[in-house]
């Protein structure tokens, strides 16, 4: 194999070198050959490197895209405020404003709406502040309980017991035209208040 390659290189070298080729098969001195081969190698490596980098831009960009792009939360309509009577905590669902065509049911999102008093709300994310399992509301004891590791929260969302490091995540809300809107989108995370 290596013999073959050398043969090719020699010929190519001769064609490209402009040595006149007076002697037909006469070869340039060994030193010149080596120098040319060294150059060819570096040239090839350089070309491959540039080509690889060019090809890598879209590939890497495609894969890390989601980490860079700025998805916007949007105001989502949870329905008329009358659905949430004063002093009660109610379950509500909405379609996530950030969604893709293939999300299916996964784009549905749930939250807990507490109407503290008429016109004053607290809207909690369904995700436990510990590791994100769905918390459930217990009207009788006025507690949220998490099925995963036993996190418990009071009705105002503050941590009552268990491993969660903080209270429940809360959505920003506003009332417009008699409807309750929340600022929703990305999955709630530890570092932010939603």
């Amino acid at each position: 194999m290596s013999d073959n390659t050398n043969g090719e290189t020699k010929k190519e070298g001769c064609v490209g070198c402009g040595c006149g080729g007076g002697g037909g098969g006469s070869l340039p001195p060994v030193a010149a050959q080596d120098a040319r081969r060294g150059f060819m190698f570096k040239f090839g490596a350089g070309l491959l490197g540039i080509g690889g980098a060019l090809a890598a831009v879209p590939i890497v960009g495609y894969i890390i895209g989601p980490a860079r792009s700025r998805y916007r939360n949007e105001w989502v309509d949870l329905g008329a405020t009358t659905l949430f009577p004063s002093g009660q905590t109610r379950f509500a669902t909405f379609l996530n404003p950030i969604r893709q065509p293939t999300d299916g049911d996964a784009a549905k999102t749930a939250c807990w709406v507490r109407c503290v008093e008429t016109g004053k709300f607290q809207v909690f994310a369904i995700n436990c502040a510990h590791l994100g399992c769905p918390v459930r509301w217990f009207e009788q004891s006025k507690l949220f309980m998490c099925p995963c590791h036993g996190g418990v929260y009071y009705q105002d969302g503050s941590r009552a017991a268990g491993p969660p490091p903080r209270g429940l995540f809360e959505y920003k809300w506003k009332v417009e035209g008699g409807k309750l809107l929340i600022d929703a989108g990305r999955l709630p995370g530890l570092e932010e208040s939603v």
Binding site: N96, I98, Q100, T102, D103, D105, S141, R186
Partner: protein, 516 residues
Amino acid sequence: MNRDAIIKLLKQPVQWVEERTGVIAFSAPLLTHHVPRSAKWWYVFGSATLMFFTIQIVTGVCLGTMYAPSASNAWESLRYIDEEIPLGWMLRALHGWSSSAMVVMMAIHMLQVFMHGSFKYPRELNWITGVFLLLTVLALAFTGQVMRWDQDAYWGLGIGAAIVDRVPVFGDQMRALMLGGPIIGGETLNRFFALHVFILPGAAIGLVGIHMTLIMKNGISEMPKPGEIVVPSTYRKEFEERMHKTGVPFFPDAAQRDMVFCGVCLILLVFLAAYYGPFGPGGMPDPTLINTNPRPDYPFMWIFGAVSLLPPASETAIMLISPVIGIAILVAVPFLSNSGERAPSRRPGMMLLAVFVVMAIVALTWEGVTSPWSPVMNGWSALPTPTQFVKGRTPLQMQGAVVFQYAQCRNCHELGGFGGKRGPALDEIATRMSPDQIVRQVQQGGGNMPAFGKNLNSAQMTAIVDFLSTLRPANEPDSTIPGAQLPLPIKSPLTLNEPFTGTGVPAEIATGASSR
């Protein structure tokens, strides 16, 4: 035609291929290489792991012909495979059971190699490629669980995302990278699909290739004997001499044992799959169906257990750092000791370590399965109050039993052996706490119990305390001492988690109470 002519005729195409590919010259040593005569039944587990891996590839490709890798259809397509495609359920069952079997075989193989010190010179890299194979297979198991795209998969991803989110500085970006966006959705499933069917199997096949090449290069280690120590400078030469003199060809001497064991495993696998059927899919992946109790698959149960038992204050650090340390230790094993004794009897410390690790994983798995830290979410509505706790009680006490149930106390506390295990069982609470202490505990909480002060009115509180004060065996006194001054002075904050040994109670009663 005579026999020789036939053989010659048959040989011709073989020679034709061999002359052009060298495939026989290349692969013959795989069968003919010498292995130690002492390599007996201990050595079958690696082969069995490889066999299960092969089953995974075959069944995986089959499932790939029907599975819809899209969050909007994946769950339905699995149901379709289970219910409509002939034998589809069996293919899924084989894939699922073989996956568990592969993890188990791999663990046993690794344990055997560790106990026999087979990772020592010159097989350090055999061990290290094995560690990476283990990680790859675990990653395959996790991504495979995601492929089911049911509630466990969805919330399991949520837990994974929440852990990744805790990485300092880059947590948010890493979470987005993992989920393929800001939510768990279509892109998440497809990312995990690409990992599960392209990247990880490719990595596993490559690693298996390296692992096998190293086995061919370094030979199979002999059964360890006390006193036969590994000296790197002379080991290889002596080993090769011994193989030459006393070794036996892999095929058929060692292979026959592999064949027997793999055969038994395979038959068991088919029966298990046929009898128990496929894993899931569980509830549909609709995050608004929150009456769910997310649990990981068995290979990860011990991690679930460990995460639940971590002290909250340090849990982030432990969750993020311990996997790194764990992997580093596994990789470092052959570097920490690559020569000397291999016999288990001469390495008692290592044996203790192995036993400890196995026991820890078994115990954590058990904790994960029983998850005593999780409230029984329907305890309050579904569990009866055992008759012995209501018989002969006053109306007020019975009212208390109702409040006890109504206020979801039962979700975390057992009565008569049923209920949550998050808090202590209350069958004999009156022997440990006086009514005043009960009031205080219920009102203010503490010791991992929420405060119920705001949620119970005074009538409810009176009733519940009256009821709880009756909870003690008939022959045991309650915690109020005849003649003692009431209320009992409470000097230190008392929690339900600590047995009451406190203040002003004669020692014999206190011990009697806490000996339960």
